[in-house]
Symmetry: C2
Subunit: 477 residues, 2 copies
């Protein structure tokens, strides 16, 4: 049920709906430079909550945070040919410093592989130093022509993990382990079911041997790449001359990984869960988890008394609670916190208090019910956080599962893609030509080769050749 | 007692001693671009611990985190004349983006006042929106000719608070309140006693009406500005057209503050507490608070058993504990953790275990003693954190107090400054000419006008005119 007249309905114009939520939920603001946004307190707090969860997981798995420089000298960036050709065209370049023209151009980091490699070259000496498991939280700049808040910006915030290992097996395991952390972030925190798998050669990261991905499916049937984890093999390490003395006293080249997620996840959240009344936030990253609305507090002093007591006991449980005791009307407040996607609302009114109860309303499914005013009430609110997360995940997962469509012919493929029906699950021959044809004619790309391979026909419907892999094709953000 | 032969004694060459600690304690590494460093895990973890304490204090006092863009268009930077003239010469400038020459130069932020002002202009409308209390964690770039790790870099990490208030009184109070948080950070966390006060007009921040400062005194008698808090008045707000509709229905210009500390604090820590054996870290920001060294574990299985038990029980108390069970010699380990400044070391050896005790050694004062192996041991280690912090603070404070020298004549002033005896506490007429003369002839600047003003003579010894303020002069990093 649409109650908020102030935003464009999603069905009418999804792009407009999206932009309006970004502004009206006060997630961001535009600036004078295209593609560079202000992360406002409410938007930034979501990112801080995502950071907090991920950072704890990274540290639990033995990773250490570091900080690399903002600027990369051109000569350093150029050492890995494939990497520079992938990134140079989208870089911002510093040519003046301290009032003078610089001798060498400095690139604002679009990603920090080259910096990590240069540092690894300097510090690695023995097999005893391995593995080196580093992570960095920072912003990166990639010049974009078409920009959209969170989804595609010329600057975005992210984390980038960079690790070195003694053996190929250990590095491959690391890349998959970090992907699984992203997958759990989706399932346990963001309530977003991801499709996981590896990228085709054509869609791999510039310089990677293998790229793994977590992909979300948006309500318009398009995919949104939400995080990647790369196994680099020894490519970068060889180009940047990274070596270690192994136990057998010979010099060896280590195996490398990198992995990252960005503020794009906020875009993912908005589109995955939002509705015509605004944002719908999963509880564990919501800046406000519970909002308490006192109704006609002038009628009964108990209204404010109970409201304050609820806030206190819920905060004691670790919940993030807002008690809105401003003089605005309850109706205005309902609309406001629906727009901001607060997971749980509690109305404290004189009539319900007479029956010794309060009403709660869940944002994501609009479920309303009453809780008796007893000692269990804070615990009940606390338990709702887990329950709402599960409910949101299940809803999103039902949508996902019903939008993976097996296609057996070119026409079926074209129908799924053109009509935004979701992922086209197709048997693929493994040849880039088919991907190019699909890109040219349908503007879709292979999103991933799912880990779970269950072949369902023998030939590739695009070229008629023998099929090798199950692949998901889709248009993507 | 100097036990570590691998670094230059501080007395011999303080600059060399400092650089060697930075490298050997693995705080940082140099990169190919001058003034840009890698913050290695051990150095970055110190910053993370400082961040954690400050961020909690900022949030407790009602501040919200935001993130502003990395790049500032030239036209925006130019709106406040004093500000641009102060910062433009030390900026890094982006002139190319996405493979093309840009129409307008973009400055890598040297500080973000102009960005915050532009945003405040966009979002402020009513007195109900005030105060706006924002903070940002980020890196900034200021091109420096002479650089030194942490103390002066072309890029550094910092936080910058930016707030808007309805009244002058409230804004002035905010600026002082934030300075007091920095002062408490020194006293309670970093064990650094700061001199606090306000800057003279000459030493103020470009565009501020009042600059407050916390200054640390280094062992060579030089001052180190460690944090500043500015009251801007309505200057920036007027230039950037920031207005709000007040309760009386008239448009008014708000009052503004900004305040910041940076990774310079890590430099402060190194110099304030370090000795000829390396770093000495105050416990609350130490990445490792307790290191446990098993001695001859092969002689008695109880050595490892007790070591592991101590680690567990101490971690249960929230302590950051490292048990070094590598096959390196105890002597190598002692030197290593002294270099890294770990506050508390515990040796677990077979001989002491026979007497049911373990030995502990405090890094900062080399105090050694025994603890009986009973249930209180983790609590004793925990209590040491507070005790060591106090001990380090008292030591530093005794040094500070004995290095504030009242000067009554030019010769006394010159003696204190030239011989690095500490702060020259001088009665000053308030005229910039005296500051210029002191700068030109002694290379010293006024560090602050202390809040606590106790005049001790009537005339300024530099010019002979009537004295107005007690001021501390010193050379500074």
């Amino acid at each position: 049920m649409k109650k908020n007249d102030s935003i464009t309905p999603r069905e009418e114009d999804m792009g407009k709906w999206y932009s309006e939520i970004c502004l009206k939920a006060e997630l961001m603001a535009y600036t004078k430079v295209k593609g560079f946004i202000v992360y406002r307190p409410y938007g930034y707090a979501i990112w801080e909550n995502i950071q907090k969860w991920l950072d704890a997981e990274f540290k639990k798995t033995g990773h250490q945070n570091v900080y690399m420089p903002l600027l990369i000298p051109e000569s350093l960036l150029k050492k890995e040919a494939e990497h520079i050709s992938g990134f140079a065209p989208e870089c911002a370049v510093v040519t003046e410093g301290g009032g003078k023209e610089l001798d060498e151009k400095l690139y604002v980091r679009p990603t920090s592989e080259t910096l990590f490699c240069d540092h690894f070259h300097d510090i690695l000496s023995s097999y005893r130093d391995l593995p080196l498991k580093y992570n960095q939280w920072c912003s990166v700049v990639r010049w974009e022509k078409t920009t959209r808040p969170f989804l595609r910006g010329s600057e975005f915030l992210w984390q980038e993990g960079h690790t070195l290992h003694r053996t190929e097996a250990e590095a491959r395991e690391e890349a998959l382990k970090m992907l699984e952390i992203y997958n759990r972030l989706g399932r346990e925190v963001l309530a977003i079911p991801f499709m996981t798998g590896r990228k085709t050669n054509r869609e791999k990261f510039a310089g990677a041997e293998e790229t793994y991905t977590v992909e979300a499916l948006m309500p318009d049937g398009q995919a949104l790449q939400s995080g990647t984890s790369h196994y680099f093999g020894q490519g970068f390490a060889s180009h940047y001359d990274i070596k270690f003395l192994d136990e057998d006293n010979t010099l060896k080249v280590p195996y490398q990984t990198s992995w990252g997620v960005s503020t794009r996840l906020i875009g993912s959240l908005i589109m995955e869960h939002g509705d015509d009344n605004g944002l719908v936030l999963p509880p564990f990253i919501a800046p406000i988890q519970v909002v308490i609305i006192p109704i006609r507090p002038g009628d009964d002093p108990k209204v404010m008394e109970v409201s304050r007591h609820l806030k206190e006991t819920m905060e004691a449980k670790g919940l993030r609670v807002l008690l809105d005791d401003t003089d605005k009307t309850p109706g205005w407040k309902y609309a406001q916190y629906e727009m901001k996607g607060v997971p749980l609302r509690i109305d404290v009114g004189p009539r319900d208090l007479k029956d010794n109860k309060v009403m709660y309303v869940r944002r994501f499914d609009e479920k309303k019910d009453f809780w008796p005013l007893d000692e269990q009430i804070a615990q009940r609110a606390f338990d709702q956080m887990e329950e709402i997360t599960k409910g949101m995940y299940d809803k999103a997962n039902r949508y996902l599962l019903s939008h993976i469509i097996e296609v057996h012919t070119w026409d079926e493929l074209a129908d799924v893609i053109k009509n935004g029906k979701g992922y086209a699950k197709m048997m693929w021959c493994g040849d880039e030509d088919c991907e190019i044809k699909i890109k040219q004619e349908l503007n879709a790309t292979s999103r991933c080769i799912p880990f779970d391979q269950v072949p369902f026909m023998d030939t590739d419907p695009v070229c008629g050749k023998k099929a090798k892999y199950v692949v998901l094709f889709d248009r993507a953000y």
